[in-house]
Symmetry: C4
Subunit: 211 residues, 4 copies
Amino acid sequence: MSLLEKRWNELADVKDELAERDWFMGTSGNLAIKVSDNPLQFLVTASGKDKRKRTDEDFLLVDEFGRPVGDTHLKPSAETLLHVEIYRRTNAGCSLHVHTIDNNIVSEIYGDQGEVKFKGQELIKAFNKWDEDAVLKIPIIHNYAHIPTLAKAFSEHISEDSGAVLIRNHGITVWGKDAFEAKKVLEASEFLFRYQLRLLEHKPYQLFKVV
Amino acid sequence: MSLLEKRWNELADVKDELAERDWFMGTSGNLAIKVSDNPLQFLVTASGKDKRKRTDEDFLLVDEFGRPVGDTHLKPSAETLLHVEIYRRTNAGCSLHVHTIDNNIVSEIYGDQGEVKFKGQELIKAFNKWDEDAVLKIPIIHNYAHIPTLAKAFSEHISEDSGAVLIRNHGITVWGKDAFEAKKVLEASEFLFRYQLRLLEHKPYQLFKVV
Amino acid sequence: MSLLEKRWNELADVKDELAERDWFMGTSGNLAIKVSDNPLQFLVTASGKDKRKRTDEDFLLVDEFGRPVGDTHLKPSAETLLHVEIYRRTNAGCSLHVHTIDNNIVSEIYGDQGEVKFKGQELIKAFNKWDEDAVLKIPIIHNYAHIPTLAKAFSEHISEDSGAVLIRNHGITVWGKDAFEAKKVLEASEFLFRYQLRLLEHKPYQLFKVV
Amino acid sequence: MSLLEKRWNELADVKDELAERDWFMGTSGNLAIKVSDNPLQFLVTASGKDKRKRTDEDFLLVDEFGRPVGDTHLKPSAETLLHVEIYRRTNAGCSLHVHTIDNNIVSEIYGDQGEVKFKGQELIKAFNKWDEDAVLKIPIIHNYAHIPTLAKAFSEHISEDSGAVLIRNHGITVWGKDAFEAKKVLEASEFLFRYQLRLLEHKPYQLFKVV
């Protein structure tokens, strides 16, 4: 099996798993995995496909500008430029963009503050935060309709080889050294978002009850 | 494979997928897919079947009045007239009627206003709303027990080849040029409804906290 | 295939489906299906089994007193007496007892009133309520630890061949003429409970916003 | 099949089932099953694996100090010491540590009180509480980053052969005489936690409405 096939299968497995959770509602979301560094080439989801099906047209290979490599009738996802920024600026090997109710609600509630913070929650260890007082910050950027502008705003928050950025009312983009790491960061983010929202629902009552 | 078989399989695939999400609770819901334009004929779910099972009695062919084509012991869904309205008035190829908790709650909360609006949410692009300021409106109609009256009220909101209408405390009906498009509109609607309800839960707290 | 085998398979299919929804948490729940009227014999879930697995020890045949028919090391579910009441008093062919979060919460919130009512919700049609003004009432009984006492309180609400009773903080028992009908009543009940709870969450906010 | 293989398969089955529920988000959670008493040896999840896949490197055998038995490149889960405490102090045969939103929220809301109590809920019978007035208490301990300190705090709540302890903002650890019992206690705990949270959401409204 070639490296291309290996990466294709890894990405297809991630897609199947996220699709099973209904994390691609309304054909939303897009995924990418790096295949080579020199030249920079990566697989990205083709536009307009049903992500609950597994076919040999789910992904296509693109270059460092997000343009298809070779002849193809497939169109790269409209948001391919965001993946380009990640592979240009870090050593990440996989990046995932997903819309969920939880990440959209968190991005709206904390949007004006430009970030959401987590502290004292075990799951922040998935972001390599091991101290008992460690704080995890996930930035939230404006959802520019113009993709190059969105990509530029996004790029300002990419420096580490693993990370996460929320786009307001649009979803999250995560990345990691490989598919396993990217998925770990995605799942930990979603857990933290849901935890935070549930806590907001319950803490007021608790205060009301105790005071 | 004939066109009839092809459409049957497409609709059966949609049914399987929605059934897996438990979107047909209590035998609710019905689905349709167009097979020919001249004469107008479409497949529609047969009444009283378990939608979690896949059998060769799940659908039957009906004409432009919703009457069975040919001899059959199967009875078309009681709400077949709503699908008739769609195929008569638009070029849609598939239509789906589904009861979920989210669409029922939204239909009740916004029912008196006759519609629910969405703005600034990425998923409205599934309705071909691409501008940053675009507004999506989904009408909400009264749930008349008399189906022809319901179909008439419903028909007043059908003009485009793709769309969605809520029936108060009853569910949503969506349509699109084919099964893929109809499902996309359905999923995007459900995402938006759940998003809206979750936001209503959290915004009060946020205001309370900030002010 | 004998009638016993046929009924066994029908009940096993229902069990598989409910298990997939996680409606048997902590080994809770029990199911029954009638096999013969003269003498009255029905299959009921054996005690202490993992309902996510399908084995030939999942059910056992019991008589009109809930006692095993023939030699067996299997023990009928502790709540078999409730199923006995149903088959003695009605023509029902299948009965299901299930604990869900929604049915437990509804049973507690409306417990002091002794019943929960639904009106103007399409899904009450699953209970054969077709008028636009029809009201569905589901009784809620006290959860007596002593099973014969519980069975007696339960029996006071069994007269129709299809129905549903909530046991406070314990779950719901539904019945219908066959497995298909019993499952329909169960699903419609769960839909209505979740709908009601979600509406309680949102109506206060709406009032707050509008007034 | 050897006893080791038998236990391996039992634990792998539990892992598959919990993974299907998404109870291992972000690679969280760890599981153990006892293989022998003299010397004490048990299987425990290897560190850094994807728990949604079933492989022959998912678990490894460790001794009474949580050290690998024999040569292996696998690393025992960082929290193996907690499982050690259970097998040293009780006759339990299986122990499960799982992070869910519900158990994390309950651990935070009731964390200052050091325990959460349940009464009058049918599911507490899964903890062998059969009286109508029985009270179930689940202790909540501080989430020490230093694992030996955490294990010591944890050990103070282990005396029975079956039980459950919450670690604040970290998850639950349950144990029972075998995999079936441990899973029953886990499921019953999660049911009770979700029930409790939902009740907190609804009781205030009810009071508001009635008073």
